[in-house]
């Protein structure tokens, strides 16, 4: 098919946890969680497949994780090790194409439409890459192969772990049609709930909607939904993508009425943002708090610090301060978000860091 692209999405299987199990035989076959211990108020950054059987997944608070799986082993993350392995894997990708877009340490898109060895089959390339990763790092990856990023990412998730899945152009539309709406990339719990309220449960339902109607309901992202419902996604694999900010936000099915409720959600968001920062090996200097009231009025408040922001406790403290002092507490809140920008290089944040007093 002329003009059709060949995109591979590679996703390492339970990356941090697998690395720990590889390097420490005592952890093999056991439920382990990489992340902060329950008494440190941390969250799980990665869980081994053994732990996932108990409902322990990434972003689950550690104290919840230990309840679900009392014999769970907590392991301190070793980011420099993950980073080194990530570079090793990156080097494998580079043998095939220069069009590599890393999403994080354990995930990347590759455009292999044209590739260095001149292999016609993207499936063959994906297989070779998986084999090389296993041979050189003793770790497994799952690969999804298709004609665009959206489909490739869905495909990599379908056969995990150690999977390889192809969605052909011919299958694309039919495939998306059967896909439950919450499995769509970029559709979270709140959007999914909203879609279901509109009667959209699958890709097929979504396809019935006009572009204009989706744009009206969902704003700019409505256009993206319109396209992906047709299996179309023209986003390029961008090897030079520079992240300007990393954030997390959450819409609430029920408006938050009390400060206590807002702070409790804010704490979760702070943890989520910091997990993402760690996953991208970044830290930043500017924190932006976003608040949407139930009347849809939206405000953002920012604070820039000399210090690097990467620690959940500190991110929460600053976000809390902004919330308490800059936000109208008498209005119910329907969305909260924390974004960290002014990002720093990965190498810089490996440096020890003198902490500052919270002077006001």
């Amino acid at each position: 098919m002329i003009g059709s692209r060949k995109i591979i999405h590679i996703d390492m299987d339970a990356f941090y946890a697998s690395v720990e199990q590889r390097d420490n035989p005592a952890y093999r076959g056991k439920p382990i969680a990489v992340g902060g211990r329950p008494e440190q108020r941390g969250a799980v950054a990665a869980a081994s497949y053994e732990a996932r059987q108990y409902g322990v997944r990434s972003a689950v608070p550690s104290r919840v994780a230990i309840q679900r799986c009392p014999h769970l082993i907590f392991v301190q993350p070793r980011f420099e090790v993950y980073r080194t392995i990530s570079l090793q894997i990156r080097e494998i990708f580079d043998r095939y194409t220069d069009l590599v877009e890393p999403l994080s340490l354990d995930e990347a898109y590759l455009d292999v439409t044209e590739n260095k060895p001149g292999i016609a089959s993207a499936m063959a390339i994906a297989r070779e890459i998986k084999q090389a990763i296993l041979a050189e790092t003793q770790l497994t990856a799952s690969a999804g192969v298709s004609i665009n990023k959206f489909l490739a990412k869905i495909a990599s998730d379908l056969d995990k772990p150690n999977g390889l899945y192809l969605i052909t152009p011919e299958q694309a539309e039919a495939f998306v049609a059967t896909l439950p709406i919450e499995k769509f990339y970029g559709i979270g719990a709140v959007t999914a709930a909203k879609m279901k309220a509109l009667g959209i449960h699958t890709g097929l339902d979504l396809k019935q909607w006009s572009e204009a109607d989706l744009a009206q309901q969902f704003g700019k992202v409505g256009r993206f939904y319109y396209n992906v419902a047709r299996g179309q996604d023209d986003r390029l694999v961008n090897p030079n993508r520079v992240r300007k900010s990393i954030g997390a936000e959450c819409s609430f099915t029920e408006d938050l009425q009390t400060l206590a409720a807002m702070l409790s959600e804010l704490e979760k968001l702070a943890q989520e943002v910091c997990d993402r920062l760690q996953r991208h090996q970044r830290s930043g200097h500017t924190l932006t708090l976003k608040v949407k009231y139930n009347d849809y009025q939206q405000i953002t408040r920012s604070r820039t610090l000399n210090d690097e922001l990467g620690d959940a406790e500190r991110v929460y403290a600053i976000a809390q301060d902004l919330l308490v002092h800059q936000v109208d507490r008498h209005k119910p809140v329907r969305l909260l978000g924390i974004t960290i920008s002014n990002l720093r290089e990965a190498t810089a944040i490996m440096q020890p860091h003198q902490l500052s007093l919270n002077l006001r």
Binding site: Q40, Q76, D311, I349, M350, Q354, L357
Partner: protein, 390 residues
């Protein structure tokens, strides 16, 4: 004007005032020192003023005829300090007219002539007339300054943090200084000698009677001058913009730093989950050795608590340079923890203490730790750890 004084006395007094001479004067006369000779009292006073810091000092001399003049401060002290011991004569009445701006300096070995400027151009040192006044014992003041000044910020952009915050209450004086990474709070309680007498009933209840932020630069001079003459009580006059310290033969004035000083009291945790007590000299000596290597890299020392063995290990790992480790006995309560600090911050705090034992209390490796001298409640030193990412 004509006077005779001792070379060493003039040298000492010139060195006191020289710190208040502007290095880049906004007006030429500010590069000069004002010299006033009083025939009636047989005293000479020297003043220098950079428009922020002003210092005045006086000393006895043989004044034949009184008068006022200003002389280039650096030139004068460079010459006088190099002259031989003995009496000096300062005279501007030689030659033709009155108001002669050329002063002749005569000593055993010879004579120098220095051109000055008229005294009328020299600005008056600020005085505080309607402000509040407090009297403090010099030793309490010195103690407070010694234990707090080192924590003030050297970064001029940090404004209010480049000063020491003084709070005077009925029961004593509190000094606080922070550079944003550490904080020193010192209480010099001395109810007998410390009296605060607000002239005006501007403050009520238990409110502090004095609450000002004074530039560290001015206080370092004060500390230096008080060291030399520490016998008397020091009077503090202050209003919203100025503070004046007066004692014995000296006077130091400074503008106050504007802006709200951080509410530092709330930064000091009240509860701790971990505590260790060590011999101050033992840990200080070990840190000084550790610092040799730590200084090569990033000044970081790691403290590893071992409550089982009741000891703490101090270690340094200066990449590409070397590493070191020392273990010292400690009384430890709480779970074991590794925590890192800037070794300089720890040493500076420990040096300010005088007790034989010190206590380190903390909760986590990323929250404030406080160091206190054991058996004395006078000083709290709070240090933020260095976060080491693993």
């Amino acid at each position: 004007m004509k006077l005779v004084c001792a070379q060493n006395i003039l040298t000492t007094n010139l060195s006191f005032v020289s710190r208040a001479v502007s290095s880049r004067p906004s007006h030429p006369v500010l590069a000069n020192v004002l010299l006033v000779a009083d025939e009636a009292t047989q005293r000479v006073s020297l003043s220098a003023f950079d428009l922020s810091l002003g210092i005045q000092t006086s000393f006895p001399a043989e004044v034949e005829s009184g008068g006022k003049l200003t002389l280039p401060a650096k030139l004068l002290s460079d010459i006088v300090s190099r002259l031989p011991d003995g009496d000096l004569t300062l005279d501007n009445e030689e030659g033709e007219a009155e108001n002669n701006l050329v002063t002749t300096l005569t000593c055993r070995s010879g004579r120098y002539q220095v051109r000055g400027m008229g005294a009328e151009e020299f600005p008056e040192l600020p005085i505080v007339e309607d402000g509040d006044v407090a009297h403090l014992p010099a030793d309490a003041l010195i103690e407070g300054l010694r234990s707090s000044l080192f924590s003030a910020s050297a970064d001029e952009t940090k404004q209010v943090l480049t000063g020491v915050h003084l709070t005077l209450r009925e029961d004593g004086l509190e000094f606080a200084a922070t550079d944003g990474h550490r904080l020193a709070v010192v209480q010099t309680v001395n109810p007998e000698n410390t009296e605060a007498k607000p002239k005006k009933a501007t403050k009520t209840g238990s409110e502090p009677t004095l609450d000002v932020t004074i530039p560290a630069k001015a206080l370092r001079e004060l500390e230096r001058m008080l060291d030399a003459k520490a016998e008397n009580a020091v009077a503090l006059h202050f209003d919203r913009g100025q503070v004046v310290f007066e004692w014995a033969d000296q006077r130091l004035t400074s503008r106050l730093l504007e802006g709200q000083y951080p509410n530092y009291g709330q930064l000091i945790p009240k509860q701790f989950s971990r505590q260790l007590t060590v011999e101050r000299r033992v840990i200080l000596a070990a840190l000084e050795r550790i610092a040799v290597l730590a200084d090569q890299k990033n000044n970081i020392v790691k403290l590893s608590m071992d409550s089982g063995k009741q000891e703490v290990t101090l270690s340094v790992d200066a990449q590409d340079v070397g590493s070191g480790k020392e273990t010292i006995p400690a009384q430890i309560t709480g779970e074991d923890l590794d925590v890192a600090f800037n070794v300089r911050y720890l040493m500076e705090g420990l040096k300010a203490f005088t007790t034989s034992e010190v206590q380190l209390q903390l909760n986590t490796a990323t929250s404030p730790a406080i160091v206190t001298p054991l058996g004395s409640l006078k000083m709290t030193y709070l240090v933020m750890p260095v976060q080491i990412r693993s």
